[in-house]
Symmetry: D2
Subunit: 247 residues, 4 copies
């Protein structure tokens, strides 16, 4: 068994990074990385320091733009078949409350996964917290309806670059209501009524995200998942779709 391919890498390394914003600015945040290569299995030399050295070399410029440089560098240094860099980071977007327009900063967890193999690929992933309100509960109850926080995760491959801001907006329009960090009374009234008028199961949210992503001209593949932290149970409900399963 002399020609098996194996993956070798380092993970859980945190470094300061900069991410280009749709508005044109450069956002400072902190990335948690994993960097790995695929190599023939008999390769014996430990290559850990190569990974750390490459990441430290590109410190000032750990941006999407430099993913391919980082991957090429590490592939060549280790004579590897392919390399992959995964970078997870909090991303901040200023939102205005729906009625008072009070500004508040919302945080979204994002991940960029760049792979350099025979073909290069890049996956953008965003995690967006939303509100889901239960249609069943609303239908059968005299008043009220149970609702809860849910989390939507969308992973996309694209033909033309898509801004994280736009993927987040796509998701936020697909739930019972979106979240805001700062709400005054008129805003709280608005989101309460908005959710009440827009009841959705996790299956409905994932379907809406899936349909919108499926019709997006620049998205070539996606997978979407929704996990709802049910307010009437201790467990979560979830739903998931992969675009490979759609027509």
């Amino acid at each position: 068994m002399s020609s098996h391919i194996q993956v070798v890498g380092i993970k859980d390394i945190q470094l300061p990074i900069k991410v280009r914003e749709k508005s044109g600015g450069l956002q400072n945040t902190v990335g948690t990385m994993a960097l790995q290569v695929n190599m023939p299995g008999q390769h014996r030399e430990s290559c850990l320091s190569v990974f750390t050295a490459v990441l430290n070399k590109y410190l000032e410029e750990i941006t999407i733009a430099n993913f391919s440089k980082i991957l090429k560098d590490v592939k060549q240094s280790l004579n590897a078949r392919s390399a992959e860099l995964v970078m997870t980071f909090p991303y901040f977007i200023e939102k205005k409350a729906p009625i008072t327009e009070t500004r508040g900063l919302m945080e979204y967890s994002c991940t960029f996964t760049g792979t350099s193999a025979e073909k290069d690929s890049f996956i953008i992933s965003v995690s967006v917290p939303v509100t889901t309100l239960c249609p069943c509960s609303k239908e059968i109850s005299a008043e009220g309806a149970h609702n809860q926080r849910a989390e939507v995760r969308l992973n996309v491959k694209f033909s033309n670059f898509i801004w994280v801001e736009d993927l987040i907006a796509l998701i936020e329009k697909s739930a019972s209501c979106e979240l805001y960090s700062l709400l005054k009374r008129p805003d709280e009234k608005y989101v309460t009524e908005q959710a009440y008028n827009n009841p959705m199961f996790v299956e409905d949210v994932v379907r809406k995200v899936a349909v919108t992503a499926f019709e997006h001209p620049d998205i070539t593949w996606f997978s979407a998942g929704v996990e709802s932290f049910e307010s009437i149970h201790k467990h979560s409900a979830y739903a998931y779709v992969d675009s490979n399963e759609m027509r």
Copy 2:
């Protein structure tokens, strides 16, 4: 600096345990333990294996009843001033849904903390998930009210032993509504309306738990905290009371 006292121990060790149920049975579950002693600081000998040996010795009988034996054993073996055993475990209680009475098993995270020093002490802690429904949201909105899952943590010292079942029941009566693992439609209608008719901020829940615990004849000290995973925000709200701050 020759007479400082330090704590030494092991933690994150998992072992099968048995817990006596209020109904008389013995429940099998899995405990995650930490076992430590307070010793004069110049003590040089590593004592790790003593801790593991004592835990393994009492394996068949790791119950509350044997806490004092375990602590005494480890104190003597290490000639220590005091010893403490902390055991966290999932505890299962069968609940009947409020209308259909369908049976379902609910899981609660509990912790027993036994200390053997000049005086012995024992703290029982329970974590109970509940529903909270926002009074403000209900008051200002035409329809509906945002609600979410929240978690109540109660830690008590007692003069007479109190069953975990009773502490859980105390908490479950102190929120907008309690949780159930299994709900049919009539039950879902009930819990939705119950929560809607019983709006409570985290401050209200912690106050209710605190008042009930304060008036309990067997509780000599307690602390209570409530964390609510707000359905309209990404962050949590929380409230906390310590009985030392009450009159």
Copy 3:
């Protein structure tokens, strides 16, 4: 887009379970489950209570043997194409220390994943903590060699059932040294020297696990990963192999 398939389920639900031991006994432990189905996307009715009801129905018998009954039950109730049950649990094995043969209980995290689709499949996964000692560090240093705890994860599909005990043993023979919960001085000397005489990079450990699994007559597919919590760095090293990449 009327015929997309989506996954719907519940997750993070804990229930007491029993697992058959190789020795013939039945071990009580606690399982954390996720239960899901694949269904056509236009299905509107919320099915959460079906999942919880099925799990509660088989409570006394949540064993591997009953996986197919649980899956069939939930598939029929929801008229689904396929169903999957994932159950993660701590599993306890008594080990004897290598020299003194002192008995101590070790805990291993295991996962059973059963899928009922056109074809049924079952994956057994075990997580085994081991010691890795660095060959490079040993070679270049006058004395000593850095070593650390590492974790090996092995997932297998099989033609004939394989005991968890045997998968764990396979892994424990594939590292610098295996772990024990209880070691006296002669045992500590043994494991220190054993690791020193058996230096292995994460790539070496994963290769050894892979070769052994590849040659196992009953294993039809596997994937193996090793993560080492480097004692000289803050980050981890890891290596991974999938049998599909081997010849």
Copy 4:
């Protein structure tokens, strides 16, 4: 029971922050915050939005310097007795490898806790990963000695401000060896031999940190803990000292 005091707040809110570096620069990082007040228990109005509003107001300037402004602001807005802000963040320091002096960035988790009550107080906490090598293992073995990563946590109150860099350095000198993100072969030889020549139990590390902190002219109170992720066991060893227990 009309005059009990309770704590109310928000937690798990992430915002971009800036931290002043000892070298004079301003480091961009991401803080996870909790903000709370102590208020009389009958206070009914929900105050969540006040917390978020205050944090968003000081966004550009969430630095230690502004802690007291933030706390004063929230105390006044809610007519509270006291307020507390806890901010946890990754902090980056460039280190030079011990022999080759290759530069690499290390990440340390830090927490600032500011309280505004009758008296103001400020606690600086740092978490520093280190290497510990076992004295017992070294003494009894023909060759080698088991070692592992450990984590030291130091919390201090001070009369004169102390830089996070200095607290980290204090800890890094108190273990078998400090960690580096980037090591070439000569550096790896150095750290391996350094650890081997400097065996320390967790009790030894915590004692050394404690003695150094106790003698520090600007530290008025401290607590220190060390947790070692034992390479020969699945569980951790730990030791802890509080300066109140020292003379």
